[in-house]
């Protein structure tokens, strides 16, 4: 059962991590923690790419994960700059209090 074949276990772990990230992103108010939960979801998807690429004897999984990491880094830089800007304007980054567009 465990003889060096982790593929389905990796899918299992990835599903659990993705769900933890999604539930955290839904329930938390602090935008930075929501952001970290989204990073966790990206990581869970990376794990599926690596595991599936390994079990299909293909290296494309690693290449895709490299590009996902690039996009995640850019997203982190721009998103955190937006958080700093929002904090300067509104003096909070609580997602429930940022309701200027609510009408």
């Amino acid at each position: 059962m465990f003889e060096d074949n982790f593929t389905w276990l990796c899918y299992f772990l990835s599903g659990i991590l993705f769900t933890i990230g999604a539930v955290g992103a839904i329930l938390r108010r602090n935008m930075i923690v929501v952001f970290m939960c989204i990073e966790l979801m990206l990581n869970a998807v990376n794990l599926v790419f690596i595991a599936a690429g390994g079990s299909l004897s293909s290296m494309d999984g690693s290449v895709f994960v490299f590009f996902i990491m690039t996009v995640a880094a850019v997203e982190a830089a721009v998103g955190l700059a937006i958080f700093v800007m929002v904090f300067r304007l509104q003096h909070t980054i609580n997602a429930d209090e940022l309701n200027l567009l609510k009408g």
């Binding site: 465990f2 299909l56 293909s58 721009v78």
Partner: protein, 177 residues
């Protein structure tokens, strides 16, 4: 002795660490503690990448995620004065709304679907051109590098332009005024 191999033990241990650390990350009230638990999660996942013969991705995970992104997040937490924990608004209940709880419940049900799929999937199709023995003979990093600078050269250049745009955008957004 043959029921579970050494790699299996390492996998189970790092998977448990990853799940526990991510649960702690999602539930801590202080964002600094969340960020530190997130780093633990990233290291555990780097160990899993090593077990899956993806050495390049494991090192990139530690350097990009645990190094760069989490450092950025920690800086921003201190910039927005969140290091003491979330401020509570007086007179407002701290419990999440009912709609949010229902959405979280639906997400957990969908997670069950993912887990069932992971248990009963049946992979079909033709194998790729990079079986593990071949990749180990050349080296994982060399194989990834040859792919990145060969077959995927154009997406690689696009990624570099994306990084440049991201740097400029972050500076422009954060430096306004």
């Amino acid at each position: 002795m043959d029921v579970i191999s050494f790699k299996g033990i390492v996998f189970i241990a790092s998977a448990l660490v990853a799940v526990a650390a991510s649960v702690l990350m999602a539930t801590r009230r202080n964002p600094i503690h969340s960020a530190l638990w997130m780093i633990v999660t990233f290291f555990a996942m780097a160990v899993i990448y090593l077990l899956l013969n993806a050495q390049f991705i494991a090192v990139a995970q530690v350097m990009v995620y645990a190094g760069a992104i989490m450092m950025l997040i920690l800086f921003v937490i201190m910039l927005v004065h969140m290091e003491k924990g979330e401020e509570t608004v007086p007179g407002q209940a701290r419990r999440p709304k009912k709609t949010k709880l229902i959405a979280a419940l639906i997400t957990v049900i969908l997670c069950g679907e993912i887990l069932l799929g992971a248990l009963f999937y049946n992979m079909t199709g033709r194998g790729g051109e990079h079986p593990a023995a071949l990749v180990d003979a050349v080296g994982n990093v060399k194989t990834v590098g040859a792919l990145l600078y060969g077959q995927y050269l154009f997406p690689f250049e696009i990624a570099s332009i994306l990084l440049l745009v991201g740097i400029v955008g972050a500076v422009v957004i954060a430096k306004r005024k």
